[in-house]
Symmetry: C2
Subunit: 228 residues, 2 copies
Amino acid sequence: MNYNPTMNNSEALVVFSGGQDSTTCLYWAKAHFNEVRALTFIYGQKHVKEVECARSIADKAGVRLDVMEVPLIGSLARNSLTDSTLPMDRQQHGTDVPNTFVPGRNLFFLSIAAVRARELGINHIVAGVSQTDFSGYPDCRDAFIKSLNVTLDLAMDSQFVLHTPLMWLDKAETWRLADTLGVMDIVRNETLTCYNGIIGDGCGDCPACRLRREGLEKYLEEKYGKER
Amino acid sequence: MNYNPTMNNSEALVVFSGGQDSTTCLYWAKAHFNEVRALTFIYGQKHVKEVECARSIADKAGVRLDVMEVPLIGSLARNSLTDSTLPMDRQQHGTDVPNTFVPGRNLFFLSIAAVRARELGINHIVAGVSQTDFSGYPDCRDAFIKSLNVTLDLAMDSQFVLHTPLMWLDKAETWRLADTLGVMDIVRNETLTCYNGIIGDGCGDCPACRLRREGLEKYLEEKYGKER
């Protein structure tokens, strides 16, 4: 384990779902690290198509992808992403966490990624979480990620660095980052963000699609002006 | 979720392996909470006899036990507790973590327990970790537990209370606690701590047995004097 991790000459492990955010992070990692690996989880989500997307994008990016089955995460607590008998909350109700929240999901994803990274001698872990458009999920907030970073270091006597390049970007700014990285087309056409499992622009109607589309429209308007 | 957890009139979830430490914690919890539940993990350890022990002790204590399979934990990284091709470190080598360390084990156990507790409306979680005789395992230290407590609260927007009644006790003091709780015989004869899978006083030779026996001898000497 390297106790003085630098970014140059280093390897990073990206927690990768094949969605807009983690695909942008995958290319961000490729731009910042010498070597990049990716890790995808199968956790009982309804849309295993996500995994096909992840494989295809990782192939194209020349990144080695490990796929890990963790059915436990979907089964621990009732939620509408892994339980098709539960109708999906379309928006947040007051201060309640929406029922698309899979409790502990990012906690488990990042903890598993850290154990894997330690085995591989990797300090740097990259995840596409964002507090800006966090949809009421507590495990997307910056304070959680920082607390988890300390917890992981203490748990394994290691020095991990959790990178969250999208933490303070809204969706329009995330589109801008993809554009800057030269992967606007890949992110727009080949990623899967939609809760209803439709690749690219998606169903257009679920909360994830609306967030994605509004961000894209805002970014394109800023880039080309209203008269594009 | 109760945001002002008290101990009276409360329920606790005990992370329970059927060993000396967690059995002492189970009875400690019974003495301090109105209701107690327990959670045992099957994670690829060589000695599934542990689980039989756990069931039998929980039955006798009148505590409802859930058993959860998490093979992932044993498979993430190579260690001598789940991989029988790897000879077990008999003692700590310098500052290295011994190869009986299962990386992330307590991190996953306590995180899973927290998600389960949240589903059950339970704030209090009890675990038998101890920094005093921690055998070089970083995830038994107090700073890790406290950091994890904050991380879990942030991850799920909850207020968990991680109780570790053995944290600052050495093995002799843990025997004293069992005695005070009136369960000296149960802990001595029915728990499984031994790395070689032998119930009660164990093989007498592995690191866990030596620690347990030395603690017992010290406690009995303190209680009855040298001439017992």
